[in-house]
Structure formats: structure tokens, C-alpha cells
């Protein structure tokens, strides 16, 4: 149990503190940092999917007026560590995927840098590549662990036996394969860095677009063999990341290398939108083979998910897609496995709700199919499989209100009156539902410093605000922990000059940084009382905050979708989307709602639009820009509403809050597929749901 704060500022929908800067456009993002006399970088990328660079002719590039330097694998500095192959830029002549960085031009202007990069002539010794994922890929292997430290495989009971027997008493079994596409995070701000190397002081300053200045610094220090004291990373604003800026990518190392080649001169390196499709991470496509067995009342007897996905040959990232099926519903027999194919492809990485986002697609569509087979209401089917304790760990839930979310959502959405294949003019109408889930995580390290100065409380922590609202809600938490007006509190973030903070990832930011701030604030009060002196100062670590290990902490939710499918063209529209969530105490309803609807809208985008169309012949995304990689635009969204239950959870942290940045994207795509099925009778099992998949089955 934690000692819950009494909410005063917490719960208020305060307007964003960084809002005015953002609506004016004067908040400066990494590449916009005003620096004296910057130089501009443009990368050179490999144009083969596998092979060796045999020569790079840079003569035309260096001859151009305004070119300051051209770096290639043949002359770039040797890095201190090449252990992480993604970061080992320009360290060897080997090409591991098309688009890999093989050079950089630094020039007086961005135009000249780009022209020069284009004029570099590269010859390759090209080798045959393997860039096609298949469920029976001969190279499939079992990774040691999957992302976030989860077990690769789990098994309990005997799924095969349960799949073989249930028909006897009127139960059903279901075996289906589902797949999700390759997705690219595509934050609207391209990955970018301004870097300055002071050779005399041996000091590096990076203004980098990152979800964590301290993890960013740690990676750069490792790669370049620098001490923490030699590097400062600054990032007050991030133009979105959704995981792709959670770890630095190769572009950051290239920017540092460019800066070190030009000591004293700040360099700027912004990836183009097209380059991001090779270099900034992505979500692996997933193939999910599901098995469900249920008795005739719908109680699961078996649930199994066998996942096949890809990673890159040079660096493993194993998305934990099978993880949510381990804990969502009760079942005596269960299995989950993950197998990877290591291909000649760019390095996959985190994208909003890694694991839970794709992993709530197959299972939640399968539950809908099961409900249909049993003639049960899909809401009711989920209610009947509510586990009393966490099936994976056997621990009681810190709080689990999935059933309340389902019932409340059904009520608000008009689920009881749901149409089934109702035709309204040219449109077929149907409703669908799916559950949402996300674990409540707290990172192990973060420290906040709190000081009283000039009549104000000033807290510092190297946290990040990538649109999540940290600038605004951290003061709310601090104010309540101190028992003062939120207007008297400043919280400064986004700089390694402030104490260490964990990455803004895993929806763990507020839980982690907020807990550190509460520790600091309570210690401050204990030590200095209610009327501190100017300069009184104390720090607090997250590891001093009460931590409960006896419960399974998760946020849950339910999403409801109305789909309308044009009976003649198969065009799919979603006029209504409702999410009901149990996310503990909401710190700022205004920014929280934005996070939830933002996640849900991205889920809608995944359901209907997003698809990195992979061309295995050349090993690249064919639609690698925003004209062809479609994301939801304004006219694609109708009513999207997110509401939350009044949920009390005394176990998660002193704020009583759960993470909300990712849960919104989980389950949405399944709810859309289920609604399209209700409207048309067509079950699309491979995302995205596009009209060509629906059209042949229309009545």
C-alpha cells in the first residue's frame, strides 16, 4: 500500500504549461536550436540490401563549394564500442540492410549537403539477401527473452488435450491465424540532432529529439567512449516519438561523429521522412496463430498464441506480442511462444505499446469469433472469462475493472440495440467491441531535486514531454506532495544537467518521475517544515518510494466501434469510437483525454490505414513517405470519446495513477475488425482492413 496523496491540483484539467509556446511555434525542437553558424549534414545510405561497400568516390562531393567534410566507412573515426551493431555507424564496409548509413556529408547549407550526398558514387559487392518473413521461414529461432524481459514461451496445463476434447459437451474450439502489418512510428517531428563537440574541453553537447536525455547520453557515452561528465543532452520538447525516440538510433551516432569531425562547429542532422523508414525503428509484422477452446457456456478451456515475427540480422528486437494473452482471461490450459526470423532488414524497435498493441489484435478478434460460434454476446463472453487473480503470476490484481469498463461502455454506446448487418441506404452498419490492457510499470531509477528559491518550489528531473503533458502534470503532483498551490511550483525537465530520469516509455513516466518527486517533496517537508528558507534543497529517488510487489498492476479498458461499410464499394468508415478505461486516478483530465483519444485514433489508423508495404525483392518499404504510408487524417475520424471510471488503486504509487500513453491503442484494431464483421459478415484477419478484403464477401 502506498500513502496516497490527497488530490488538490491532481484531478484539475490545467491547460498545458508549454501550450502557448506550442501554439505560436516558438517551442524549439532539436534541430531548431539556435546556434552560431551551424553546418548541415546529409546522410549517404546503402542502396543494396546486403553486401559490402567496395569503394566510395567522394571526389565530386568534396569538390562542391560549401562542402566541409565527407565521412565514409573508410575514413571515419573508430568507435570505442561497436557492440551494438545498430550504433556502429561507418565502422565496416558491410551492408546489413538497404538504407543503412554508409556516409555523411557536412556542408555550409542543407542544399549543398544534400546535393553532395547524392553525388557520392558507391560500388558494392552485392550479396543475396533474405528479407521476407514467412510463418515457416527456415531460420525461425527462439529468442532468449522477449522485449521488457518477458519469458519467450510459457505453458500451463495441456492445450492440445483441451483442443481435442471440448466438442463433447457442446463446447467449441477455434484455430485461426491473424496478422498485423509492419508499421512505422512516424512522429511528426523527424528524428533530428544538433551536436557540438568542443575539442579543447573534450565536451559534447547534443540537442537531440529523444524520449529520455539520460538513456540517450548513456548510449552515446558507450559508443564514443566518453564519460557522462563529458556529454550534455538537452531536449525540452519532442515532436512525438511513440517509442521511436525511446532509444537513440544510428542517426544520433552519425550526428555525433559529424560534430567530432568538425570541432567547435555545431552540426545539424535531421532525417528526411523517407530516411525514417530505414533508420528510425518500426514495428515488426506479426503472424499470430491462435487456438481457443471453450465449454458451451463460453468458459475458456484453452488459450494459445504462437507468434512469428522478424528482427534484423544485426540486432535483435523481439516484440512481446504473446504477452497479453497470458493474463487477459482465465483458462486452465495456456500456451504462448515467440519465434523470430533474423532478416536483412532495418532494425525493429519500440512502437506504442510494443507487445500489447499487436498482441491484443489476434486474441481479441478470436474472442469475437468464439462468441459468434457460441451464440454469445461478445461482452458477456469476456465477462465469463474474468480471472479472479492474474493467471500468469497468481497474484491478486492491484485493481481490475475490465468488467465495469465493458458494462459501462455497452451502456453508453447502445450496445444492447446493436445492429447486425443493418442496411442504411448504401451502408451496412455493425458494432464491435474489444478489450484493452496495459501493464502499470515503474522504472528502477529516477531522481528529483527540489529546492526552495525566490518564494517558489523548483523541482528538476531529466524527464521528457513528448506531448504527454509532463511539463504540466509533474507540477500538479509536486504541488500536492508539498501541500502548496500548483502555481508556486516549477518543474524543469529535458536536460541531463538535471538529475537522472528514466525513459518516457512503457507508460511509466508519470509513475516513475512522479514517485521520485513525491519522495523529494515529502523529504523536503520533513526536513524543512512548512516555511523553508531560500536555498533549502533535497533530492528524492524513486527507489525510496513504496513499492508493492504483491499485486499485479494493470490498466484495463473496453473499446466500442461503429463501422459502416459501403455495400457497393466496400469503403469503410468509423463514425463512432468509444473507450472506457480503468486507469487509476487521472492527474489531468484535459491532457489524459488527449492521450487516450490519441492512442485510440492511432489504433483506428492501424486498423484501416497503416501498412508499410514491404518489397522483399529489394528489401525496403515501397511506400516510404507520408503520401503513401497512410495515417488517419482529420476527415477519417468521427466521434472519438474516451472516458474513465472512478478507480481507486492504493497499490500502484502515491498518485494512485496508472500509465495512459499506450493503453488507448490496444484492442482498437480488433474492435474495428469485429464491427466490420458485424456489419458485413466478412472477417478480416490480416490488417489493415481495406475495401479489397471486404468487397468479395459483401452481401
Amino acid at each position: 500500500m502506498t500513502d496516497l496523496l490527497e488530490p488538490r491540483a491532481i484531478g484539475q484539467g490545467l491547460v498545458r504549461r508549454d501550450g502557448e509556446l506550442k501554439v505560436r511555434g516558438t517551442a524549439t525542437y532539436a534541430v531548431e536550436t539556435p546556434v552560431e553558424n551551424p553546418a548541415y549534414c546529409h546522410p549517404v545510405q546503402a542502396t543494396v540490401a546486403r553486401g559490402r561497400v567496395t569503394a566510395m568516390d567522394t571526389a565530386a562531393a568534396t569538390a562542391l563549394d560549401g562542402v566541409l567534410a565527407v565521412l565514409t566507412p573508410f575514413d571515419a573515426e573508430r568507435l570505442a564500442s561497436t557492440e551494438d551493431a545498430e550504433y556502429a555507424v561507418l565502422q565496416s564496409d558491410e551492408v546489413a540492410f538497404r538504407g543503412q548509413l554508409i556516409g555523411v556529408v557536412i556542408a555550409e547549407t542543407s542544399e549543398v549537403a544534400r546535393q553532395a550526398a547524392d553525388s557520392v558514387r558507391v560500388t558494392y559487392d552485392e550479396q543475396e539477401h533474405d528479407a521476407e518473413l514467412a510463418v515457416d521461414h527456415p531460420g525461425l529461432y527462439k529468442p532468449e527473452k522477449v522485449n521488457a524481459g518477458h519469458e519467450t514461451d510459457t505453458a500451463e496445463g495441456d492445450v492440445a488435450a483441451a483442443m481435442a476434447t471440448p466438442q463433447r459437451d457442446g463446447g467449441v474450439t477455434l484455430e485461426r491465424t491473424y496478422s498485423t502489418a509492419m508499421y512505422h512510428n512516424n512522429p511528426l517531428e523527424p528524428h533530428a540532432t544538433t551536436a557540438l563537440w568542443d575539442a579543447d574541453a573534450q565536451f559534447l553537447t547534443l540537442w537531440d529529439s529523444t524520449q529520455g536525455v539520460h538513456p540517450d547520453r548513456a548510449a552515446v557515452c558507450e559508443v564514443f567512449g566518453l564519460e557522462q561528465e563529458q556529454v550534455r543532452v538537452v531536449c525540452p520538447y519532442v515532436g512525438g516519438g511513440f517509442g521511436s525516440k525511446g532509444t537513440p538510433h544510428a542517426n544520433v551516432m552519425l550526428a555525433v561523429m559529424a560534430a567530432r569531425a568538425l570541432p567547435g562547429r555545431p552540426v545539424k542532422l535531421a532525417l528526411t521522412r523517407q530516411q525514417m523508414f530505414f533508420l528510425a525503428g518500426y514495428r515488426t509484422p506479426t503472424i499470430q496463430q491462435m487456438q481457443l477452446a471453450a465449454d458451451r457456456r463460453g468458459r475458456l478451456q484453452a488459450i494459445a498464441i504462437d507468434v512469428v515475427e522478424q528482427t534484423s540480422r544485426i540486432k535483435e528486437f523481439a516484440e512481446q506480442t504473446g504477452v497479453p494473452a497470458r493474463m487477459m482471461y482465465a483458462s486452465p490450459n495456456r500456451r504462448s511462444t515467440h519465434r523470430l526470423a533474423a532478416l536483412d532488414v532495418p532494425v525493429p524497435s519500440w512502437m506504442r505499446a510494443p507487445g500489447e498493441c499487436p498482441g491484443m489484435f489476434g486474441p481479441e478478434v478470436a474472442m469475437d469469433e468464439l462468441a459468434e460460434e457460441l451464440g454469445l454476446d461478445p461482452v458477456e463472453l469476456r465477462v465469463r472469462n474474468e480471472p479472479e487473480v492474474d493467471p500468469e503470476t497468481g497474484k491478486p490484481w492491484s485493481s481490475r475493472n475490465l468488467v465495469r469498463c465493458l458494462r459501462e461502455g455497452a451502456e453508453r454506446f447502445g450496445w444492447a440495440e446493436r445492429p447486425r448487418g443493418r442496411r442504411e441506404g448504401d451502408w451496412l452498419v455493425g458494432y464491435g467491441v474489444a478489450s484493452s490492457v496495459y501493464p502499470t510499470m515503474r522504472q528502477a531509477t529516477s531522481t528529483a531535486n527540489l529546492r526552495y528559491a525566490d518564494g517558489r518550489y523548483v523541482a528538476e528531473i531529466g524527464a521528457a514531454d513528448l506531448g504527454t503533458g509532463a511539463w504540466t502534470i509533474l507540477p500538479q503532483i509536486t504541488a500536492d506532495a508539498l501541500g502548496v498551490d500548483v502555481g508556486d511550483v516549477d518543474v524543469r525537465i529535458g536536460d541531463t544537467q538535471y538529475p537522472t530520469a528514466s525513459v518516457a516509455g512503457g507508460s511509466s513516466g508519470t509513475n516513475t518521475w512522479g514517485s521520485a518527486l513525491v519522495v523529494a517533496a515529502r523529504a523536503f517537508r520533513d526536513k524543512f517544515g512548512g516555511s523553508p528558507d531560500d536555498g533549502d534543497e533535497i533530492s528524492g529517488d524513486v527507489d525510496q518510494a513504496a513499492k508493492d510487489d504483491a499485486h499485479a498492476p494493470y490498466a484495463f479498458g473496453a473499446q466500442f466501434v461503429e463501422a459502416r461499410v459501403n455495400a457497393d464499394t466496400g469503403e469503410i468508415r468509423v463514425p463512432r469510437l468509444l473507450g472506457v478505461f480503468g486507469v487509476g486516478r487521472v492527474i489531468n483530465p484535459r491532457t489524459a483525454r488527449s492521450q487516450l483519444i490519441g492512442g485510440m485514433t492511432m489504433g483506428l489508423s492501424m486498423a484501416l490505414h497503416e501498412n508499410s508495404v514491404w518489397d522483399p525483392r529489394i528489401g525496403q518499404v515501397a511506400n516510404h513517405d507520408l503520401a503513401e504510408y497512410h495515417i488517419t487524417v482529420n476527415a477519417d475520424v468521427g466521434e472519438i470519446e474516451a472516458v474513465w471510471l472512478d478507480e481507486h488503486d492504493p497499490y500502484v504509487n502515491a498518485m494512485g495513477s496508472k500509465g495512459i500513453g499506450e493503453i488507448g491503442i490496444t484492442g482498437t484494431a480488433a474492435a474495428v475488425v469485429n464491427a466490420v464483421h458485424a456489419a458485413t459478415g466478412v472477417r478480416v484477419r490480416d490488417l489493415p482492413v481495406t475495401l479489397d478484403k471486404v468487397l468479395p464477401g459483401l452481401p
Binding site: G25, T26, G240, F242, G599
Partner: protein, 168 residues
């Protein structure tokens, strides 16, 4: 090749030298140090670089600076006058019509342009009656704002913010 041009940016006369390949967006961001118009794609696909160019919304990444000598440019920063935010900016704050803020200046310039287009009676793809005055409905605004991508997906807040600022 370089060229000397003059731009009026947010009410100020600015003389600058540009490469003849420099886009208006890069002229503003890299040569004049004005970060308000954002670069999201550089290809006319995202709307982040939207400015008001001689009063109309325009994608500054698709315009060559050298072709706009003497142009009057307003960025989102310039919409705020004497420390007072523009009504569209206030509505965006109130409705939380953004998260990361990177698409936001473009959305706001676009919205100002859209409101002006309504006032001029310009129809859109979803206008039913091409002879009447288009109404500032949800669908009309959503359609007209669809050239401005928001990856944070604040759309359901953006549309009512624009409607509200337009006095609909």
C-alpha cells in the same frame, strides 16, 4: 546559385540570400531562424509547414523562396499580436487540440486560412450546395483540415477548436 530576396515575415522586412533551391520553409527556418513553420515531410504531404502567404494558406516546403521575393508571410508566431494570442490559438489551448505541438503551428495557420475561405464562400469536397454559403460544420472543417496530419491524433479536439474560433 544564390539570390538576394526580401520577405515580409510576421510584419518585419527581412533581406536574405538564398540558394535558388532553397524552399520558403528552409528560408524561414534555416536562414531566418524562425522555427514556427515545421518540417514534417518536405514534400507537401503533412501540412506542418503551412504558413499564410499573401493571406492564403500555403505549404512553404513546396515553394521556392526565390520565387517569392517581396511576399508577405505570416507564421503562427506572427498570428499572436502584442502578446495576445489569436482566437484560433486560444481555442487550441482550451480544447487541448495538440500534444507534441509539432503539427500545431501548421494546423493553426491552416485553420486561419480555412476560416477565411469560409468567409469567402469557397466550397469544399463535402459541400452539398455549391450555390449557397458553406456552413462551418464538423464535416466541412474536418475535410478542409485534412491536409494537416497530426500523428498525436488530436483531430477530435482540432475540429471543434476551429469551429469555435470561427464562431460557428
Amino acid at each position: 546559385m544564390d539570390a538576394d530576396i526580401t520577405l515580409r515575415v510576421d510584419g518585419e522586412t527581412r533581406r536574405l540570400t538564398v540558394d535558388t533551391r532553397t524552399s520558403l520553409l528552409d528560408a524561414l527556418r534555416e536562414r531566418l531562424g524562425n522555427p514556427s513553420p515545421k518540417k514534417g515531410c518536405d514534400h507537401g504531404q503533412c501540412g506542418a509547414c503551412t504558413i499564410l502567404l499573401d493571406g492564403q494558406r500555403a505549404l512553404s516546403c513546396l515553394a521556392l523562396a526565390v520565387a517569392y521575393d517581396g511576399a508577405e508571410i505570416t507564421t503562427a508566431d506572427g498570428l499572436a499580436r502584442d502578446g495576445e494570442l489569436h482566437p484560433v490559438q486560444r481555442a487550441f489551448l482550451e480544447r487541448d487540440a495538440f500534444q507534441c505541438g509539432y503539427c500545431t503551428p501548421g494546423q493553426i495557420c491552416s485553420a486561419v486560412g480555412v476560416i477565411d475561405e469560409f468567409e469567402k464562400g469557397w466550397p469544399s469536397h463535402v459541400t452539398e450546395d455549391l450555390t449557397g454559403e458553406p456552413e462551418i460544420t464538423h464535416d466541412e472543417v474536418a475535410e478542409r483540415m485534412s491536409g494537416n496530419l497530426c500523428r498525436c491524433a488530436a483531430y477530435v479536439n482540432i475540429t471543434p477548436a476551429v469551429q469555435e474560433a470561427a464562431g460557428a
